[in-house]
Subunit: 235 residues, 2 copies
DNA sequence: CGGGGCCTTGAACGTCGTCAAGCGATGTGG
DNA sequence: CCACATCGCTTGACGACGTTCAAGGCCCCG
Protein backbone atom coordinates (compact mmCIF):
# COMPACT_ATOMS: atom_id res chain seq x y z
CA UNK A 1 0.00 0.00 0.00
CA UNK A 2 1.40 3.33 -1.05
CA UNK A 3 -0.31 5.36 1.63
CA UNK A 4 0.56 3.18 4.62
CA UNK A 5 3.22 5.49 5.99
CA UNK A 6 1.12 8.56 5.31
CA UNK A 7 -1.79 7.09 7.24
CA UNK A 8 0.51 6.10 10.07
CA UNK A 9 1.53 9.70 10.58
CA UNK A 10 -2.06 10.90 10.12
CA UNK A 11 -4.26 8.64 12.22
CA UNK A 12 -6.94 11.32 12.43
CA UNK A 13 -9.50 11.89 11.11
CA UNK A 14 -10.32 8.18 11.00
CA UNK A 15 -11.10 6.80 7.56
CA UNK A 16 -13.45 4.07 6.45
CA UNK A 17 -12.27 1.12 4.39
CA UNK A 18 -13.79 2.71 1.31
CA UNK A 19 -12.00 5.98 1.91
CA UNK A 20 -8.67 4.25 2.33
CA UNK A 21 -9.28 2.31 -0.86
CA UNK A 22 -10.23 5.48 -2.72
CA UNK A 23 -7.10 7.19 -1.51
CA UNK A 24 -4.91 4.29 -2.55
CA UNK A 25 -6.60 4.08 -5.94
CA UNK A 26 -5.89 7.73 -6.65
CA UNK A 27 -2.24 7.23 -7.36
CA UNK A 28 -1.28 7.11 -10.98
CA UNK A 29 2.27 5.81 -10.96
CA UNK A 30 5.52 5.80 -9.08
CA UNK A 31 8.88 7.19 -10.06
CA UNK A 32 12.43 7.28 -8.77
CA UNK A 33 14.82 10.18 -8.55
CA UNK A 34 18.53 10.39 -7.92
CA UNK A 35 20.08 12.55 -5.17
CA UNK A 36 20.15 16.27 -6.01
CA UNK A 37 17.63 15.77 -8.76
CA UNK A 38 14.87 18.35 -8.78
CA UNK A 39 11.44 16.83 -8.19
CA UNK A 40 9.40 20.02 -8.45
CA UNK A 41 10.66 23.26 -9.91
CA UNK A 42 9.29 26.58 -8.71
CA UNK A 43 6.75 28.44 -10.86
CA UNK A 44 6.18 25.49 -13.17
CA UNK A 45 2.45 24.68 -13.56
CA UNK A 46 1.69 21.40 -11.80
CA UNK A 47 -1.00 18.82 -12.47
CA UNK A 48 -0.23 16.25 -9.81
CA UNK A 49 0.82 15.86 -6.19
CA UNK A 50 3.80 13.88 -5.01
CA UNK A 51 3.87 11.44 -2.11
CA UNK A 52 7.31 10.49 -0.84
CA UNK A 53 7.58 6.72 -0.41
CA UNK A 54 11.28 6.29 0.27
CA UNK A 55 14.17 8.64 0.90
CA UNK A 56 14.50 12.28 1.92
CA UNK A 57 13.74 15.49 0.06
CA UNK A 58 14.19 19.17 0.78
CA UNK A 59 12.09 22.18 -0.12
CA UNK A 60 14.21 25.25 -0.71
CA UNK A 61 14.51 28.65 -2.27
CA UNK A 62 17.58 29.95 -4.04
CA UNK A 63 18.20 33.65 -3.67
CA UNK A 64 19.64 36.13 -6.12
CA UNK A 65 22.83 36.56 -4.08
CA UNK A 66 23.56 32.84 -4.11
CA UNK A 67 22.26 32.18 -0.63
CA UNK A 68 19.92 29.29 -0.21
CA UNK A 69 17.22 28.71 2.37
CA UNK A 70 15.89 25.26 3.10
CA UNK A 71 12.21 25.53 4.03
CA UNK A 72 11.40 21.96 4.97
CA UNK A 73 12.76 18.46 4.97
CA UNK A 74 10.42 15.63 4.10
CA UNK A 75 10.53 12.00 5.08
CA UNK A 76 8.74 8.92 3.75
CA UNK A 77 4.99 9.20 4.15
CA UNK A 78 4.97 12.97 3.58
CA UNK A 79 3.26 14.61 0.64
CA UNK A 80 5.93 16.96 -0.62
CA UNK A 81 3.65 19.15 -2.69
CA UNK A 82 0.05 18.46 -1.81
CA UNK A 83 -0.32 22.22 -1.67
CA UNK A 84 0.14 22.24 -5.43
CA UNK A 85 -3.46 21.10 -5.78
CA UNK A 86 -5.02 24.38 -4.65
CA UNK A 87 -2.05 26.55 -5.64
CA UNK A 88 -1.35 25.05 -9.11
CA UNK A 89 2.33 25.89 -8.83
CA UNK A 90 4.89 26.34 -6.10
CA UNK A 91 6.96 29.33 -5.13
CA UNK A 92 9.86 27.09 -4.12
CA UNK A 93 11.59 24.00 -5.46
CA UNK A 94 11.82 20.44 -4.17
CA UNK A 95 14.90 18.28 -4.59
CA UNK A 96 15.94 14.79 -3.58
CA UNK A 97 18.52 14.47 -0.80
CA UNK A 98 18.91 10.73 -1.33
CA UNK A 99 17.72 8.27 -3.93
CA UNK A 100 13.95 8.50 -3.57
CA UNK A 101 10.81 6.84 -4.75
CA UNK A 102 7.57 8.78 -5.06
CA UNK A 103 3.98 8.19 -6.11
CA UNK A 104 1.92 10.71 -8.05
CA UNK A 105 -1.68 11.67 -7.44
CA UNK A 106 -3.14 13.70 -10.32
CA UNK A 107 -4.98 16.87 -9.36
CA UNK A 108 -8.26 15.61 -10.85
CA UNK A 109 -7.98 12.61 -8.54
CA UNK A 110 -7.52 14.91 -5.56
CA UNK A 111 -10.55 16.87 -6.59
CA UNK A 112 -12.53 13.65 -6.96
CA UNK A 113 -11.55 12.67 -3.43
CA UNK A 114 -12.74 16.00 -2.07
CA UNK A 115 -16.04 15.50 -3.89
CA UNK A 116 -16.68 12.08 -2.41
CA UNK A 117 -15.60 12.47 1.21
CA UNK A 118 -15.49 15.45 3.52
CA UNK A 119 -13.38 13.32 5.86
CA UNK A 120 -10.76 12.71 3.20
CA UNK A 121 -10.82 16.40 2.42
CA UNK A 122 -10.18 17.17 6.04
CA UNK A 123 -7.34 14.66 6.20
CA UNK A 124 -5.51 15.96 3.15
CA UNK A 125 -6.07 19.57 4.11
CA UNK A 126 -4.86 18.83 7.61
CA UNK A 127 -1.64 17.33 6.36
CA UNK A 128 -0.79 20.48 4.42
CA UNK A 129 -1.51 22.52 7.54
CA UNK A 130 0.80 20.45 9.68
CA UNK A 131 3.49 21.30 7.16
CA UNK A 132 2.56 24.93 7.70
CA UNK A 133 2.80 24.51 11.48
CA UNK A 134 6.30 23.14 11.01
CA UNK A 135 7.09 26.17 8.82
CA UNK A 136 5.98 28.40 11.68
CA UNK A 137 8.10 26.55 14.20
CA UNK A 138 11.06 27.10 11.92
CA UNK A 139 10.27 30.82 11.94
CA UNK A 140 10.48 30.65 15.71
CA UNK A 141 13.72 28.70 15.59
CA UNK A 142 15.46 30.99 13.16
CA UNK A 143 14.00 34.16 14.59
CA UNK A 144 14.24 33.57 18.29
CA UNK A 145 16.68 30.77 19.14
CA UNK A 146 20.47 30.76 19.27
CA UNK A 147 22.50 28.79 16.78
CA UNK A 148 23.18 25.69 18.90
CA UNK A 149 19.58 25.55 20.08
CA UNK A 150 18.31 25.78 16.51
CA UNK A 151 20.32 22.75 15.48
CA UNK A 152 19.31 20.85 18.59
CA UNK A 153 15.67 21.65 17.90
CA UNK A 154 15.93 20.39 14.34
CA UNK A 155 17.44 17.13 15.55
CA UNK A 156 14.60 16.76 18.04
CA UNK A 157 12.03 17.33 15.33
CA UNK A 158 13.58 14.84 12.97
CA UNK A 159 13.92 12.27 15.72
CA UNK A 160 10.22 12.42 16.54
CA UNK A 161 9.08 12.46 12.94
CA UNK A 162 11.36 9.59 11.98
CA UNK A 163 10.46 7.53 15.00
CA UNK A 164 6.81 7.51 13.89
CA UNK A 165 7.73 5.85 10.62
CA UNK A 166 10.25 3.46 12.08
CA UNK A 167 13.34 5.29 10.84
CA UNK A 168 14.60 6.22 14.29
CA UNK A 169 14.77 4.13 17.41
CA UNK A 170 14.66 7.28 19.51
CA UNK A 171 18.41 7.28 20.06
CA UNK A 172 19.84 7.45 16.58
CA UNK A 173 18.82 7.74 12.99
CA UNK A 174 20.11 8.37 9.51
CA UNK A 175 19.79 12.04 8.58
CA UNK A 176 21.28 12.29 5.10
CA UNK A 177 22.22 15.95 4.94
CA UNK A 178 25.52 17.78 4.90
CA UNK A 179 26.57 20.43 7.36
CA UNK A 180 25.95 22.88 4.55
CA UNK A 181 22.35 21.70 4.39
CA UNK A 182 21.99 22.10 8.15
CA UNK A 183 23.34 25.62 7.82
CA UNK A 184 20.95 26.43 4.98
CA UNK A 185 18.03 25.09 6.99
CA UNK A 186 18.85 27.00 10.15
CA UNK A 187 19.95 30.29 8.63
CA UNK A 188 23.58 29.86 9.67
CA UNK A 189 26.85 29.57 7.80
CA UNK A 190 28.41 26.17 7.35
CA UNK A 191 31.40 27.25 9.41
CA UNK A 192 29.31 28.25 12.38
CA UNK A 193 27.05 25.23 12.09
CA UNK A 194 30.18 23.12 12.29
CA UNK A 195 31.28 24.84 15.49
CA UNK A 196 27.87 24.49 17.08
CA UNK A 197 27.74 20.80 16.16
CA UNK A 198 31.05 20.34 17.91
CA UNK A 199 29.68 22.10 20.96
CA UNK A 200 26.58 19.91 21.03
CA UNK A 201 28.82 16.87 20.80
CA UNK A 202 31.21 18.05 23.52
CA UNK A 203 28.29 18.93 25.76
CA UNK A 204 27.11 15.36 25.53
CA UNK A 205 23.79 16.20 23.90
CA UNK A 206 23.86 14.94 20.34
CA UNK A 207 26.38 13.86 17.77
CA UNK A 208 26.02 14.49 14.05
CA UNK A 209 28.51 12.79 11.81
CA UNK A 210 28.37 11.53 8.27
CA UNK A 211 24.66 11.93 7.87
CA UNK A 212 23.96 10.10 11.08
CA UNK A 213 22.52 11.51 14.31
CA UNK A 214 23.25 9.86 17.62
CA UNK A 215 21.37 11.32 20.56
CA UNK A 216 23.53 11.10 23.64
CA UNK A 217 20.98 12.39 26.14
CA UNK A 218 17.43 12.81 24.89
CA UNK A 219 16.03 14.54 27.95
CA UNK A 220 18.90 16.98 28.12
CA UNK A 221 18.63 17.63 24.39
CA UNK A 222 14.90 18.30 24.63
CA UNK A 223 15.41 20.69 27.49
CA UNK A 224 18.29 22.44 25.79
CA UNK A 225 16.25 22.88 22.62
CA UNK A 226 13.04 23.82 24.38
CA UNK A 227 11.43 21.19 22.22
CA UNK A 228 7.71 20.52 22.54
CA UNK A 229 5.97 18.18 20.09
CA UNK A 230 2.74 20.19 20.08
CA UNK A 231 3.36 21.77 16.70
CA UNK A 232 3.63 18.37 15.02
CA UNK A 233 0.00 17.61 15.86
CA UNK A 234 0.67 14.02 16.77
CA UNK A 235 -2.57 12.43 17.85
CA UNK B 1 -21.53 41.06 2.53
CA UNK B 2 -19.07 39.68 5.01
CA UNK B 3 -16.90 37.89 2.49
CA UNK B 4 -16.46 40.70 0.01
CA UNK B 5 -12.90 41.51 0.98
CA UNK B 6 -11.99 37.85 1.21
CA UNK B 7 -13.27 37.23 -2.29
CA UNK B 8 -11.46 40.27 -3.58
CA UNK B 9 -8.14 38.84 -2.46
CA UNK B 10 -9.07 35.35 -3.69
CA UNK B 11 -10.52 35.79 -7.18
CA UNK B 12 -9.70 32.19 -8.06
CA UNK B 13 -11.08 29.62 -8.23
CA UNK B 14 -14.16 31.36 -9.61
CA UNK B 15 -17.36 30.76 -7.67
CA UNK B 16 -20.95 30.52 -8.81
CA UNK B 17 -23.67 32.70 -7.34
CA UNK B 18 -24.86 29.77 -5.26
CA UNK B 19 -21.41 29.13 -3.88
CA UNK B 20 -20.96 32.76 -2.89
CA UNK B 21 -24.35 32.69 -1.20
CA UNK B 22 -23.50 29.47 0.63
CA UNK B 23 -20.25 30.97 1.82
CA UNK B 24 -21.92 34.11 3.04
CA UNK B 25 -24.64 32.12 4.78
CA UNK B 26 -22.09 30.09 6.71
CA UNK B 27 -21.24 32.87 9.13
CA UNK B 28 -22.86 32.65 12.50
CA UNK B 29 -22.25 36.03 14.05
CA UNK B 30 -19.79 38.88 14.31
CA UNK B 31 -17.86 40.16 17.28
CA UNK B 32 -15.56 42.99 18.21
CA UNK B 33 -12.31 42.92 20.11
CA UNK B 34 -10.19 45.63 21.67
CA UNK B 35 -6.48 46.11 20.92
CA UNK B 36 -4.23 43.54 22.62
CA UNK B 37 -7.18 41.30 23.30
CA UNK B 38 -6.54 37.66 22.52
CA UNK B 39 -8.81 36.32 19.79
CA UNK B 40 -7.56 32.74 19.76
CA UNK B 41 -5.47 31.18 22.48
CA UNK B 42 -3.03 28.39 21.70
CA UNK B 43 -3.97 24.81 22.52
CA UNK B 44 -7.59 25.65 23.23
CA UNK B 45 -10.01 23.37 21.32
CA UNK B 46 -11.76 25.40 18.62
CA UNK B 47 -15.14 24.94 16.99
CA UNK B 48 -15.23 27.87 14.59
CA UNK B 49 -13.08 29.84 12.18
CA UNK B 50 -12.56 33.57 12.32
CA UNK B 51 -12.70 35.97 9.40
CA UNK B 52 -11.21 39.40 9.99
CA UNK B 53 -13.54 42.14 8.78
CA UNK B 54 -11.88 45.26 10.12
CA UNK B 55 -8.59 46.00 11.84
CA UNK B 56 -5.28 44.19 12.17
CA UNK B 57 -4.32 41.06 14.10
CA UNK B 58 -1.07 39.21 14.77
CA UNK B 59 -0.33 35.53 15.18
CA UNK B 60 2.49 34.92 17.62
CA UNK B 61 4.22 32.53 19.94
CA UNK B 62 5.53 33.42 23.37
CA UNK B 63 8.67 31.59 24.40
CA UNK B 64 9.75 30.37 27.80
CA UNK B 65 12.56 32.94 28.03
CA UNK B 66 10.18 35.83 27.46
CA UNK B 67 11.00 36.28 23.80
CA UNK B 68 8.15 36.56 21.41
CA UNK B 69 7.95 35.71 17.74
CA UNK B 70 5.28 37.15 15.50
CA UNK B 71 4.38 34.59 12.85
CA UNK B 72 1.96 36.55 10.70
CA UNK B 73 0.05 39.78 10.47
CA UNK B 74 -3.48 39.68 9.13
CA UNK B 75 -5.49 42.36 7.42
CA UNK B 76 -9.21 42.68 6.69
CA UNK B 77 -10.44 39.91 4.42
CA UNK B 78 -8.05 37.32 5.88
CA UNK B 79 -9.21 34.25 7.71
CA UNK B 80 -7.05 34.32 10.80
CA UNK B 81 -7.58 30.72 11.83
CA UNK B 82 -9.17 28.82 8.99
CA UNK B 83 -6.57 26.17 9.71
CA UNK B 84 -8.39 25.47 12.94
CA UNK B 85 -10.97 23.50 10.96
CA UNK B 86 -8.68 20.59 10.10
CA UNK B 87 -6.36 21.08 13.08
CA UNK B 88 -9.00 21.59 15.82
CA UNK B 89 -6.65 23.78 17.82
CA UNK B 90 -3.72 26.07 17.14
CA UNK B 91 -0.14 25.90 18.31
CA UNK B 92 0.08 29.69 18.49
CA UNK B 93 -2.13 32.57 19.65
CA UNK B 94 -3.89 35.36 17.77
CA UNK B 95 -4.32 38.85 19.20
CA UNK B 96 -5.81 42.11 18.01
CA UNK B 97 -3.41 44.91 17.11
CA UNK B 98 -6.21 47.46 16.72
CA UNK B 99 -9.90 47.48 17.49
CA UNK B 100 -11.19 44.71 15.24
CA UNK B 101 -14.41 43.20 14.00
CA UNK B 102 -14.59 39.55 13.03
CA UNK B 103 -17.15 37.06 11.76
CA UNK B 104 -17.29 33.44 12.86
CA UNK B 105 -17.85 30.39 10.69
CA UNK B 106 -18.58 27.27 12.74
CA UNK B 107 -16.59 24.16 11.84
CA UNK B 108 -19.73 22.21 10.92
CA UNK B 109 -20.53 24.95 8.41
CA UNK B 110 -17.06 24.62 6.91
CA UNK B 111 -17.55 20.90 6.63
CA UNK B 112 -20.92 21.43 4.98
CA UNK B 113 -19.28 23.72 2.44
CA UNK B 114 -16.69 21.10 1.60
CA UNK B 115 -19.47 18.58 1.13
CA UNK B 116 -21.39 20.71 -1.31
CA UNK B 117 -18.69 22.20 -3.51
CA UNK B 118 -15.26 21.00 -4.48
CA UNK B 119 -14.60 24.50 -5.78
CA UNK B 120 -15.34 26.08 -2.41
CA UNK B 121 -13.12 23.45 -0.82
CA UNK B 122 -10.33 24.40 -3.15
CA UNK B 123 -10.80 28.09 -2.42
CA UNK B 124 -10.72 27.75 1.35
CA UNK B 125 -7.85 25.29 1.26
CA UNK B 126 -5.97 27.58 -1.08
CA UNK B 127 -6.31 30.52 1.26
CA UNK B 128 -4.71 28.58 4.11
CA UNK B 129 -1.88 27.61 1.80
CA UNK B 130 -1.21 31.17 0.77
CA UNK B 131 -0.78 31.88 4.47
CA UNK B 132 1.71 29.03 4.52
CA UNK B 133 3.55 30.49 1.54
CA UNK B 134 3.85 33.76 3.44
CA UNK B 135 5.17 31.80 6.41
CA UNK B 136 7.84 30.34 4.16
CA UNK B 137 8.79 33.73 2.80
CA UNK B 138 9.27 34.88 6.36
CA UNK B 139 11.60 31.94 6.92
CA UNK B 140 13.62 33.21 3.99
CA UNK B 141 13.56 36.75 5.33
CA UNK B 142 14.65 35.88 8.82
CA UNK B 143 17.06 33.17 7.75
CA UNK B 144 18.74 34.74 4.77
CA UNK B 145 18.27 38.50 4.67
CA UNK B 146 19.98 41.26 6.61
CA UNK B 147 18.12 43.34 9.17
CA UNK B 148 17.34 46.36 7.01
CA UNK B 149 16.31 44.19 4.07
CA UNK B 150 13.98 42.19 6.30
CA UNK B 151 12.14 45.29 7.37
CA UNK B 152 12.01 46.62 3.84
CA UNK B 153 10.63 43.31 2.64
CA UNK B 154 7.91 43.35 5.25
CA UNK B 155 6.87 46.84 4.23
CA UNK B 156 6.72 45.72 0.61
CA UNK B 157 4.53 42.77 1.53
CA UNK B 158 2.15 44.85 3.58
CA UNK B 159 1.94 47.47 0.87
CA UNK B 160 0.88 44.95 -1.74
CA UNK B 161 -1.54 43.15 0.52
CA UNK B 162 -3.13 46.36 1.74
CA UNK B 163 -3.37 47.83 -1.72
CA UNK B 164 -5.58 44.96 -2.81
CA UNK B 165 -8.14 45.79 -0.15
CA UNK B 166 -7.96 49.53 -0.61
CA UNK B 167 -5.96 50.24 2.54
CA UNK B 168 -2.88 51.47 0.73
CA UNK B 169 -2.62 53.77 -2.25
CA UNK B 170 0.74 52.24 -3.11
CA UNK B 171 2.69 55.08 -1.51
CA UNK B 172 1.56 55.06 2.08
CA UNK B 173 -0.63 53.17 4.48
CA UNK B 174 -1.49 52.75 8.11
CA UNK B 175 0.49 49.93 9.68
CA UNK B 176 -0.56 49.93 13.32
CA UNK B 177 2.38 48.19 14.94
CA UNK B 178 5.13 49.37 17.25
CA UNK B 179 8.83 49.10 16.59
CA UNK B 180 8.78 46.31 19.15
CA UNK B 181 6.27 44.45 17.00
CA UNK B 182 8.42 44.95 13.93
CA UNK B 183 11.36 43.57 15.88
CA UNK B 184 9.36 40.55 17.06
CA UNK B 185 8.20 39.87 13.52
CA UNK B 186 11.64 40.06 11.96
CA UNK B 187 13.67 38.34 14.66
CA UNK B 188 15.49 41.51 15.66
CA UNK B 189 15.70 43.53 18.84
CA UNK B 190 13.72 46.72 19.14
CA UNK B 191 16.93 48.72 19.41
CA UNK B 192 18.34 47.33 16.22
CA UNK B 193 15.04 47.61 14.39
CA UNK B 194 15.00 51.27 15.36
CA UNK B 195 18.46 51.81 13.87
CA UNK B 196 17.56 50.02 10.66
CA UNK B 197 14.38 52.06 10.32
CA UNK B 198 16.45 55.18 10.60
CA UNK B 199 18.77 53.88 7.91
CA UNK B 200 15.87 53.09 5.57
CA UNK B 201 14.54 56.59 6.15
CA UNK B 202 17.91 58.27 5.59
CA UNK B 203 18.49 56.20 2.47
CA UNK B 204 15.27 57.60 1.04
CA UNK B 205 13.54 54.24 0.77
CA UNK B 206 10.75 54.15 3.30
CA UNK B 207 9.67 55.96 6.42
CA UNK B 208 7.96 54.30 9.36
CA UNK B 209 6.63 56.59 12.04
CA UNK B 210 3.74 56.34 14.43
CA UNK B 211 2.16 53.30 12.85
CA UNK B 212 2.29 54.84 9.42
CA UNK B 213 4.40 53.77 6.44
CA UNK B 214 5.34 56.23 3.74
CA UNK B 215 7.15 54.73 0.79
CA UNK B 216 9.61 57.25 -0.56
CA UNK B 217 10.77 55.26 -3.57
CA UNK B 218 8.84 52.10 -4.38
CA UNK B 219 11.14 50.82 -7.11
CA UNK B 220 14.23 51.36 -5.01
CA UNK B 221 12.55 49.74 -2.02
CA UNK B 222 11.53 46.70 -4.04
CA UNK B 223 15.02 46.31 -5.39
CA UNK B 224 16.62 46.79 -2.00
CA UNK B 225 14.32 44.20 -0.46
CA UNK B 226 14.54 41.75 -3.34
CA UNK B 227 10.77 41.70 -3.22
CA UNK B 228 8.82 39.54 -5.66
CA UNK B 229 5.06 39.15 -5.31
CA UNK B 230 5.09 35.54 -6.51
CA UNK B 231 4.65 34.07 -3.04
CA UNK B 232 1.42 35.99 -2.50
CA UNK B 233 -0.24 34.10 -5.35
CA UNK B 234 -2.03 37.13 -6.69
CA UNK B 235 -4.01 36.09 -9.72
C1' DC C 1 46.70 10.83 -9.62
C1' DG C 2 44.15 14.92 -9.76
C1' DG C 3 39.99 17.26 -8.54
C1' DG C 4 36.10 18.30 -5.96
C1' DG C 5 32.98 18.00 -2.16
C1' DC C 6 32.76 18.03 2.70
C1' DC C 7 34.62 18.78 7.17
C1' DT C 8 37.57 21.26 10.38
C1' DT C 9 40.02 24.95 12.52
C1' DG C 10 42.10 29.68 13.24
C1' DA C 11 41.97 34.66 13.06
C1' DA C 12 39.83 38.93 12.15
C1' DC C 13 35.86 41.31 11.38
C1' DG C 14 31.05 43.07 11.58
C1' DT C 15 26.28 42.78 12.46
C1' DC C 16 23.37 42.68 15.89
C1' DG C 17 22.28 42.30 20.95
C1' DT C 18 22.68 44.08 25.68
C1' DC C 19 22.76 47.55 28.97
C1' DA C 20 21.83 52.07 30.10
C1' DA C 21 19.97 56.55 29.94
C1' DG C 22 16.94 60.20 28.43
C1' DC C 23 12.91 62.04 25.98
C1' DG C 24 8.08 62.89 24.74
C1' DA C 25 3.32 61.57 24.87
C1' DT C 26 -0.36 59.57 27.34
C1' DG C 27 -2.95 58.48 31.14
C1' DT C 28 -4.22 58.16 35.95
C1' DG C 29 -4.95 59.13 40.56
C1' DG C 30 -4.15 62.13 44.47
C1' DC D 1 -4.25 70.25 38.00
C1' DC D 2 -0.08 68.45 38.87
C1' DA D 3 2.82 64.33 40.21
C1' DC D 4 4.04 60.26 38.69
C1' DA D 5 4.02 55.94 36.18
C1' DT D 6 4.00 53.76 31.79
C1' DC D 7 4.94 53.04 27.10
C1' DG D 8 7.22 53.78 22.88
C1' DC D 9 11.08 55.87 20.63
C1' DT D 10 15.92 57.23 20.40
C1' DT D 11 20.85 57.17 21.06
C1' DG D 12 25.52 55.73 22.93
C1' DA D 13 28.89 52.41 24.48
C1' DC D 14 30.24 47.92 24.71
C1' DG D 15 30.28 43.06 24.02
C1' DA D 16 28.82 38.74 21.95
C1' DC D 17 27.38 35.87 18.51
C1' DG D 18 27.84 34.74 14.05
C1' DT D 19 30.29 35.69 9.47
C1' DT D 20 34.07 36.00 6.40
C1' DC D 21 38.38 34.70 4.73
C1' DA D 22 41.82 31.42 4.60
C1' DA D 23 44.07 27.12 4.81
C1' DG D 24 44.57 22.24 5.31
C1' DG D 25 42.90 17.44 5.65
C1' DC D 26 40.09 13.59 4.29
C1' DC D 27 37.70 10.81 1.19
C1' DC D 28 35.55 9.46 -2.94
C1' DC D 29 35.41 9.26 -7.78
C1' DG D 30 36.77 9.99 -12.46
Amino acid sequence: MLIDLFLRTHPKPVLSEEEIAALEASFARTQEFAPKQIVVREQVPLTQCTLLLEGFVERYKDMADGRRQILAIHVPGDFVDLHSYPLKKLEHSVAALTPIRVAFMPHPAVRALTETSATLTELLWRSTLIDAAINREWIVSIGARGAAVRLAHLFCEMNVRLQRIGLSDGKQFVFPVTQIDLADATGLTAVHANRMLRQLREDGLVEFRGGHVRIADWDALRRFAGFDTGYLFID
